[in-house]
């Protein structure tokens, strides 16, 4: 055992560097700022670049340029910054630019409370883009997840050429925690794939019209076009409805059809459980404590922790919900992800236990919600 003590934000920065991130741009905002600090300490000596942008729009814009130039790029902010990123996020989705976007969620709405946590952005991250195409969102539960899921986030961004969000929370980001360095099991880094060399290069041509286009960098030997306009495989603007349909359907399907591969969940079934708790992020930890207490009180309860929020790990949720009488969604907001659970489990009883007042949900609150519903 080799224990280290670090906050979640440092773990995200270290995970990013391990994943091969060599470009970071951000704008200071509590509780995400320490990611910028750590990236600034780590990237320049490695030959990478870390920049403080003039605002959030510039910060993510730098990253989109850098990513198209061929390097792995990341930015980090909190809810107010995600609002400012929004148009650039839509660009990254529609123009298939790999990027990792960290959202250290804080209590909203608006500027809200800079030093209080919440999980109030989980629908916003999926739907805060024009056009409504699917995105990938991962949610860490602790400092170890911050490291590992950040590596996963880069791998998914590279593999699917899309923005991938790490939806953390002030309560993980700025809480120092021990982690066992010998038990970190990040996946091997994945890099974006070049197109087949024997065919003429088209920047948005996926093989057989399905999946993910091969990537060539801007600045390489072959001129590359990138555009935020509605485009065909050649990267030029198009108004042809069938070409538009092909492109948008392909982009929707490359994420949605990968839902099972992208799904990361921890399922802890309990024998004779009547209730399944479905939760994510820092609330998973209180839920774990609640499940132990419920077991002690003779109320065995199952637990499903979602580490992938989008695309919704529907198959895993359905599997875990089989055989229980009731599902309880626990989240640090006024009821957001519970909508997804209700949507994919029609006819099943779904309850909600939420709180958004700057405090962590206490295990006892969850115990009460399971017992008294």
């Amino acid at each position: 055992m080799a224990l280290a003590l670090m906050e979640g934000n440092e773990a995200i920065a270290r995970g990013a560097v391990a994943a091969g991130c060599r470009f970071f741009a951000g704008y200071p905002i509590t509780p995400a700022t320490t990611i910028l600090n750590h990236m600034l300490a780590m990237l320049p000596p490695l030959g990478g670049v870390c920049i403080q942008g003039e605002d959030e729009i510039a910060s993510i814009g730098f990253c989109l340029g850098a990513s198209m130039a061929g390097v792995k790029a990341m930015t980090a902010t909190s809810g107010p910054g995600i609002s400012l990123y929004s148009e650039q996020i839509s660009f990254a989705i529609g123009s298939e630019i790999p990027i990792v976007i960290v959202d250290i969620q804080r209590l909203g709405p608006s500027t809200g409370s800079a030093t209080r946590g919440a999980d109030g952005d989980v629908q916003f991250l999926q739907w805060g883009n024009s056009g409504g195409l699917p995105v990938i969102v991962l949610a860490p539960t602790d400092v170890t997840d911050c490291y590992t899921l950040t590596v996963h986030a880069f791998n998914l961004a590279e593999r699917y050429r899309c923005p991938v969000f790490v939806a953390s929370n002030k309560e993980i980001a700025m809480t120092r925690e021990s982690l066992d360095l010998e038990r970190l099991t990040p996946p091997a880094p994945v890099d974006r794939v070049a197109p087949p060399p024997d065919q003429p290069f088209l920047p948005f041509q996926a093989s057989d019209g399905e999946g993910v286009p091969g990537f060539l960098p801007i600045g390489g030997r072959i001129p590359v076009r990138q555009t935020s306009s509605t485009h065909g495989p050649d990267g030029f603007i198009t108004t042809d409805p069938s070409e538009i349909t092909r492109a948008l359907t392909r982009m929707q399907s490359k994420i949605n059809s990968a839902a099972d591969q992208v799904a990361m969940v921890d399922h802890h079934p309990a024998e004779d459980a009547e209730t399944l708790i479905v939760t994510y992020g820092v609330s998973s930890r209180a839920a774990g404590a609640a499940v132990r207490e419920l077991q002690r009180r003779g109320k065995p309860t199952s637990l499903l922790v979602l580490k992938t929020l989008w695309p919704v790990p529907a198959a895993a949720i359905r599997r875990a919900a089989g055989g229980v009488q009731r599902i309880l969604a626990v989240e640090m907001n006024l009821g957001q992800y519970v909508r997804e659970i209700e949507r994919i489990l029609p006819g099943q009883a779904v309850g909600f236990c939420g709180q958004m007042d700057g405090r962590l949900i206490a295990p006892e609150t969850i115990v009460e919600a399971v017992i008294h519903g």
């Binding site: 510039a58 989109l64 700025m174």
Partner: protein, 434 residues
């Protein structure tokens, strides 16, 4: 060199648009420079200027309105060898003004061509940041109320080292553009032209009229002497190369037996400036040296030199789930602001709890055992009380022991700071139970 114009996609501007003239002169400038298309990135955004990237057989990046300079910066920082030319309209200068200012201040080697035709051509000729107040445009009377932006004056004030203001109809415009592209640093070329589709439909504007307007303004013809300095990218790489590599996280192996096999919750209540957070970190490191898991959650106001400072630590042989403290095993009361914020907590303590109370700090009555320490009387500075309180805990054998604390201090501190800290925790007298 051959033309870099895309023969399959000729310019599609309105007849008489000055943008078409600039398209051809830019191509001429590239030819004179002998650059192949793979060595150039054209970066554009929204509006008629945003069509430019489609006319050239170069790398191309077309993005959001007013944000072209942000993508260009990312490209150039990653690929310093690439020639990056940005085309934006006068509209882009308005919506992306912050990026113009920052680009001027930064001095990254980019060329910004402002295709300035005094209105939003694509959306119906609305007024832009450069529309003259006496023009008739698609925004009713609104342009009469605002002063047009002097792009070049702003660029100079913001630190741009190379600024040109000129007419699109100037005979040597290709040379003007070439020199701007070749300048090593951020160059701005504000090119005034005619929008026949919108602006000159309602306003009499001729090439001669543009010359007259320009002649009434401060001329900008290239290098701005007071703004000459090093190019950002080159300077960045030089400074970056001199930075020290960050070591991997410090790994701590268990060397001592823990004081307790139960979860221990410690809360330290103090005031800003008392180094509460550092003491909390050291307590956690002490726990790690006994193989315990640890968490530290802090609470302080945005004004870091005033107000409460609170640190909540949990040490446990088991995995730590919820990181907030409900009923602490130990409360260390070092400052009135911290105590005031957690007043309610004292009533919840039972007789298994311990309170370490600094003399001079009042705490609410409760059932916990209280241990009073006169840090001030022992000659400790306020900044050392938190650290000294760890010495008290270790001497009492509560949560930590002296050898755990010493190992934690050795792991966290170096040199004089370490010697000073060891002196504090050794010297502190543990005080008395009340």
């Amino acid at each position: 060199m051959d033309s870099l114009l895309n023969a399959a996609r000729p310019p599609v501007f309105c007849p008489g648009c000055s943008h078409e003239r600039i398209t051809h002169t830019l191509d001429k400038a590239f030819q004179t420079m002998g650059l192949g298309g793979e060595r150039i990135a054209m970066v554009s955004d929204i509006g008629c200027s945003g069509l430019f990237d489609t006319f050239f057989n170069t790398h191309a990046f077309h993005g959001l309105h007013g944000r072209a300079l942000t993508y260009a910066a990312g490209l150039k920082l990653v690929r310093p060898e690439l020639t990056v030319v940005v085309t934006m309209g006068d509209g882009g200068q308005g919506i992306g003004g912050a990026h113009l200012l920052a680009a001027c201040r930064r001095n990254l080697d980019l060329t910004l061509l402002v295709l300035n035709n005094f209105n939003f051509g694509m959306t119906g000729g609305q007024y832009s940041a450069t529309t003259p107040p006496d023009a008739e445009v698609g925004s009713g009377f609104l342009n009469r109320l605002e002063q047009p932006l002097d792009i070049c004056g702003v660029a100079r004030a913001a630190g741009a080292p190379y600024v040109v203001r000129c007419s699109a109809y100037r005979s040597d415009i290709a040379e003007v553009i070439r020199k701007a592209v070749e300048f090593k640093g951020f160059s701005v070329v504000d090119i005034w032209g005619i929008c026949p589709g919108r602006f000159s439909k309602r306003n009499r504007l001729t090439t001669k009229g543009i010359e007259e307007m320009l002649s009434r303004l401060t001329p900008f013809e290239g290098q701005v002497p007071e703004n000459q300095r090093r190019e950002f990218g080159e300077h960045y790489r030089e400074l970056a190369a001199a930075q020290k590599t960050v070591p991997p996280p410090q790994a701590i192996t268990s060397a001592f037996a823990p004081v307790s096999c139960d979860r221990q919750e410690v809360i330290m209540l103090g005031s800003a400036g008392q180094r509460i957070i550092t003491a909390g970190e050291i307590l956690c490191l002490a726990g790690l040296h006994a193989g315990l898991n640890a968490t530290q959650k802090n609470d302080y106001d945005i004004t870091v030199l005033r107000g409460p400072s609170i640190s909540e630590m949990i040490l446990s042989p088991q995995a730590i789930d919820c990181t907030s403290i409900q009923r602490p095993s130990v409360v260390v009361a070092l400052g009135p602001e911290g105590v005031a914020r957690r007043r309610k907590m004292f009533a919840a303590l039972d007789d298994t709890g311990t309170v370490i109370q600094a003399v001079g700090v009042d705490v609410p009555a409760g059932r916990a055992r209280t241990h009073r320490v006169d840090f001030k009387g022992q000659g400790f500075k306020g900044t050392d009380w938190a650290l000294a309180s760890l010495g008290v805990l270790s001497k009492l054998g509560v949560v930590i022991r002296p050898e755990m604390l010493e190992a934690a201090l050795t792991a966290r501190l170096k040199g004089d700071a370490l010697a000073g800290a060891l002196e504090v925790v050794c010297r502190v007298a543990p005080g008395e139970w009340l």
